[in-house]
Symmetry: C2
Subunit: 187 residues, 2 copies
């Protein structure tokens, strides 16, 4: 019985969602896992396209997964896709192993920096005066720390801009870590 | 014994974080709750300011809370603060009641629309070709649906721009719903 990995990420919004999902599912098999991809094209029930139906389907997939693999590449802003982050919180709370990558190699602070000013106390503030964390994290600490608590980190890959939402090197890094976690040996 | 509410939001990054926290804690008391505010100034242990320490402190607060009250106002982009969203996922997974507000009255789609084009199939796509949800939700469906599954919704308040991160009307709406949920009668 192959361990099941829930494949979370903004991939589901990408025009190549079906192909991305198929590529990730193939990689999962290569590493000894069964992938669960929530995007369109991953199941036959095209009826499940209402907002509540999609949510329930994702919850059921997460419930049936042994671990989660999260694409935390910044999406429509300096931080990861909020849907993916909700799922990270959901699976972390369930005590399941979580693995994550980002196709942006920078710290959150470096992404924010062009819009920040340094205050007299040394802290970084944005245009609204809001504090910016300076912990060397890939994103908000709520994304880095659940990984750290499990002895892991967000794998950062400095992908080319045109491959920002399609590069899969981070998936391989996560699968390699997951394989060690589950004690699988590559066939 | 007053039910305990975890007060999640980007409030903790605001320059007036301590005052915002104090105001929210006072509102909680007014409605019969004990608030738990994770921001600076809310506790005496200023040593707990490393990234892992903050994370552990928030986890402990969530574990000790009976429910969560989430500020899902868009933060540094079209969607809610990812730290807050992680906590929403965490508490939803724990089966605890969640209450939420946003100080932006619009649908996610309306916030994205200036940067979207409508494809031949009627779907909305951003500059990267990524699909934008058109469900009438306040944010990504992963934020609206856990509320809906509990018979609630994200309370939307069209706050003035200068009060975007400080308006508390949404807190009152959440507290009113929480009071009904916990069967409390206002003193």
């Amino acid at each position: 019985m192959r361990p099941r990995l829930y494949l979370a990420g903004p991939d589901v919004f990408h025009p190549a969602s079906a192909a991305l999902g198929a590529a990730k599912l193939a990689l999962c098999r290569e590493y000894g896992f069964e992938g669960l991809y929530p995007g369109e094209g991953s199941d036959e029930t095209s009826a499940s396209t209402s907002s509540p139906a999609i949510y329930r389907r994702c919850l059921a997939m997460m419930a049936g997964a042994d671990a989660g693999l999260f694409n935390l590449t910044p999406f429509r802003g300096p931080s990861a896709d909020v849907g993916t982050v909700f799922e990270l919180g959901f699976m972390a709370a369930a005590g399941k192993p979580v693995f994550a990558y980002s196709n942006d190699g920078r710290d959150l602070l470096d992404r924010l920096r062009p819009d920040l000013v340094r205050g007299g106390d040394g802290s970084w503030r944005d245009a609204a005066g809001c504090f910016a964390e300076d912990f060397g994290n890939a994103d908000n600490l709520m994304l880095d720390e659940p990984l750290a608590l499990q002895g892991r980190r967000i794998h950062r890959v400095a992908a080319e801009p045109e491959a920002r939402f399609t590069a899969l090197d981070g998936v391989r890094l996560c699968l390699d870590a997951a394989r060690r976690h589950f004690g699988l040996v590559r066939a």
